[in-house]
Homo-oligomer: 354 residues x 4
């Protein structure tokens, strides 16, 4: 960590910065430049809070140099981690295709849709049973019944399944008592990958609980980036999971709330975060063009852009009659469109590696 | 809700939009303009998902006209809600002063600090015992011991206390088992206002649980705006709490992640959200200049700006030796500085009402 | 245009809105919904300022439905415009490759670099002679000497050239007098495409002057999107050029100032704007991955993502010894790297069309 | 400037960084930490382009420590500059009130409005004659006739006037020839303060021309912050003016394009930039709540917030019949409302200084 003091800082002011640095267990080296005085902290600065120096009148800037994560760093596994789910190796250089409906709507619709997705090239089935929704008045998922459908779809198609659990229960038990732990346990007992959604990326206590629950079963976690989380915060959320015993974290980008967001597209597709993450971490990175755009007319372009930028996988919402989907109807594509995306993505997979 | 189709939309395309609108329980009125075709939905559109129409090739825009919240709307209580905590009426036209340390660091430091805050004009004592932290390596709060200190400080000073509980447990019990429910219960049993932090604003399940737990005791909830939450999402999070039985929600602004954020200040102080919220909702709005700036040199300016813009209260971090604070050291101000802010804020309180 | 009034609006308030609409030359149709009153304006609303209704107490929202541009709309040329520059057809389905140095540094360096770019697959040569710089202390381009180098490079390689002129002169004449008009004239007389940079996208007077000067010579204009310009503002800036007689506008994306910008990359690469623009306008869209990233390590990923998302061209900074470039040294790639990008982009060009 | 290399950087990689630093005329000092290698550059780093090191594989970060501006720095005039216009001292601790219509609409409306503004407490009259507009179809100002009105209003009321000139001409001369220079000269010959608008903040050539033209007459420049300009870019734009001979630059904030912008308000009112600028520079800082909000219902709150945060002045749009204003009708307030704002602002002026 580097602390920059303004040029005219007094001896006392410099001394104060050194004192604080030492109180945090670091050694301080002072370099006097022509335009500023720089104090470099040597030692384990991961535990030093940047704000320790913010607010000193003489301090102009505090800059963290070492990355605050350790287990999530690329250096931990320079070749990149491959996470195996059934036959698929996520992070092995090929693009893993995960597809399915936003919300599971029942056995009758899920089973043929799962077959259609598999036929179109999907390797992993996605589907929401517990849906966190911004409005308390919106449909919140089929819950247990949804999980049952997913398990049956896996039995019939052989595709592994990924579904979300949230930090607290989403429905009431018959007697009205909360059931939180059971939802996480239910999902962990039945799915092949646990999805942690964008709204819960900073529910650190839940990340810890979920990490331990999945680690016990060697189940990967698909962690979605928060809508406004920085790359640093995203990797620190992954670090919470790694530190609690589960090394198999799949990072999932799904658009952030920035510039373009909300004007033409629902979010700003964070394509550039793909190569940045691939450089910073060994964990695989998948992209969700459906949530990133919120509009089926743009799903193909953004999916292919993500593929070209180096994504290890795509997570795509599919529905056989998108206009009748129970949630996010505007962003689901038909199975045939999925097939075309998969074909183009495979060609790009070959081209990007060239 | 209004759905705009491009000018040349075919009869079938318009028919499809009408069909979807009716399937969602609404009546559709078509107006053909010189530049577009507009379908207006009449009925209860709160449950209609905007994305139902997104992705139709003929649809250019979908616009929600009625507000998606109901209980949080200003119309529910046009004069504005006053929430009483001890002697203080939050929302009564005066500026409620809440102050105290970021993290509680022990009885020896908290008690004199609480006295100093009261002497400086604070009416409610704040202090963190359970701290959600971005890095798993950072100090996460004193936990139970912190709550004990807070209770003792209240006994000695007579000030009501506000403190945070999170959606999942933050420390292990002696035998390592998770203790989540007990943290919420512990806080609810001991505090006067339950704080729900920025990272949990979208943990909807937790909002429901917390709403029911506090409603049972008629305890207000101070809900912090998420770092990138829109005004709509913030009010819908409040709606989750209102709908689950607790009408006493204090909205707290603390900076968002936008334009300026991270360059000169930690966040972008969302001062303008104060008058916007005061117009949209009857719930009181308080402002936290300490987190919004992350820098004690700017706390005073931003606190006074919030007061002038109409805030119902200020939530300010104070420490007697800020440079030694265990967390967010850079943003805490000294009790004397608090006193000066309170004096200026009272004068502004008089001026703004003029 | 649609004006939404709150449900309880009085007859007078509705009347006031109708009156204003009519004063702007439009007819007003009132629809009373269960939750709001909607006034639809029929007529030429392009000249109606949205703010005409903002600020009426009864008005909740004003929504422009018809696009404010006319000449830039896709409907003007539904098949998409192809702009011919030498042998290259920008917008013809293939990816036009424009490459060269950020700043021209002299004949000795430009000529071999231009040859190397051509050998690597570039079709158009770019190079800056007049450089608008954020700091008055930074190198501002070789000026006339740079233009001379560019002309010579074209003579030797046969590649058409694109270079920037700014809204005012950038260097002094020998007697210190301003020389603005001559810079635009100089560039228009010597280049094949006039580049208008991001900082001047909203210098509307300059857009008009430049449009007329280039129209006279049937020279295309490459218009860069402003750092924070919305899609609407970008297309309206193009509209200024089209309206002043030049139909050949090439839209160039180069990153915007948003979410990720300034943390890991210099800007936020606005990949998603490619398909949005392709839908809204018939004008070709090229992408500049060099400025969008500011970091040569990410140029390839982002260039390929832009290609996959449908870009009509790429504008890439190349230098034979990037570390010695006089400006933007960090983002230039070597000619060999350009060759690899071109090969992969051609494969993606085939795949995306599949 | 500080260049951070990753821990394992080779001797050659470090050598390369040192070589580049020296080629830029700086001395390099290497500090090897436990987690990174840091190279500090000593010398005049204002001319060193940060991107010189970006793109080296071993370089993790480049950080500029010394501020890139010199003449705009607070240290140049630590007590703060007071700019005198008529009787008003902008920057003298009091809040200068500038008010008037967005667009000048003719003598009949301007004269009584100017009188009403003066009566309400305004000290300087604002009014647009040359209006840069986002749409080529929008009203672009009365031009010369507007300037004539302004001059007459000054003669009658005694108030100094501020009005905008743009980087290029905005209307045609009778024979259709461009008239740019004349617009700047016309404004400089007739106004008391030259306004440079947000869209031209980065038209550096124009800043230079305008600086020299105003310096010759000792006329202050009111420079508006670009919609997405950083504090750094804003101060560097001011630096262009200072460096070209005019020391009297008034910085004007008017909202930026960020978080809230475009949802409830037109822009995000950048209140926090007031204290940041007051710390960084000696130049006075005024705030324009009319453009920042785009909605008259919020002008008062934001004006008072700016006053409380330390603004040296307010620039407010006033119209006697706002609903009939020719541009930005939604944001103009009535003269009586101005009077109330001035009264409250004076009380806040006293309170903030306390």
């Amino acid at each position: 960590m580097i602390v920059c003091l303004r040029k005219g800082a007094t001896r006392d002011e410099v001394g104060e910065v050194i004192r604080r640095a030492e109180s945090a267990g670091c050694r301080a080296i002072v370099t006097e430049g022509s335009e500023a005085i720089v104090v470099s902290l040597i030692g384990d600065t991961r535990r030093v809070d940047e704000s320790l120096f913010r607010g000193c009148d003489s301090v102009e800037k505090t800059i963290r140099i070492s990355k605050p994560w350790k287990l999530a760093a690329r250096a931990m596994e320079p070749a990149g981690r491959v996470i195996h789910v059934g036959d698929v190796g996520i992070g092995d250089g090929r693009i893993a295709i995960m597809a399915g409906p936003c919300s599971i709507e029942g056995m009758d619709s899920l089973l043929p849709l799962a077959e259609a997705c598999r036929a179109a090239g999907a390797q992993i089935l996605r589907g929401g049973a517990y849906k966190p929704r911004t409005s308390p008045y919106a449909f919140q998922g089929l819950g247990r019944e949804g999980i049952r459908c997913l398990v049956e779809a896996r039995r019939r198609t052989g595709m592994p399944v990924v579904t979300e659990a949230t930090g607290s229960h989403r429905h009431r038990s018959p007697d009205g008592a909360p059931e939180e732990r059971s939802v996480l346990e239910e999902v962990v007992s039945n799915a092949d990958i646990l999805q942690i959604g964008t709204r819960n990326m900073k529910s650190y206590g839940f990340l810890e609980v979920a990490a331990r629950a999945t680690a016990a079963r060697r189940m990967p976690v698909l962690l979605k980036r928060g809508e406004a989380a920085s790359i640093e915060e995203f990797l620190l959320a992954a670090e919470y999971i790694l530190l609690n015993g589960n090394p198999d974290v799949i990072l999932c980008l799904r658009g952030i709330r920035s510039g373009e967001a909300g004007r033409h597209l629902r979010y700003d597709p964070d394509i550039a975060a793909i190569p940045v993450l691939k450089r910073e971490t060994h964990l695989p990175v998948v992209f969700d063009p459906s949530h990133a755009t919120g509009d089926r007319r743009y799903v193909r372009s953004i999916a292919l852009a993500a593929a070209a930028a180096g994504a290890d996988g795509l997570l795509i919402e599919v529905h056989d009659r998108p206009e009748e989907a129970w949630s996010d109807a505007g962003q689901a594509i038909r199975p045939e469109a999925l097939g075309e995306i998969v074909r183009a993505a495979r060609a790009i997979e070959a081209a990007r590696g060239a």
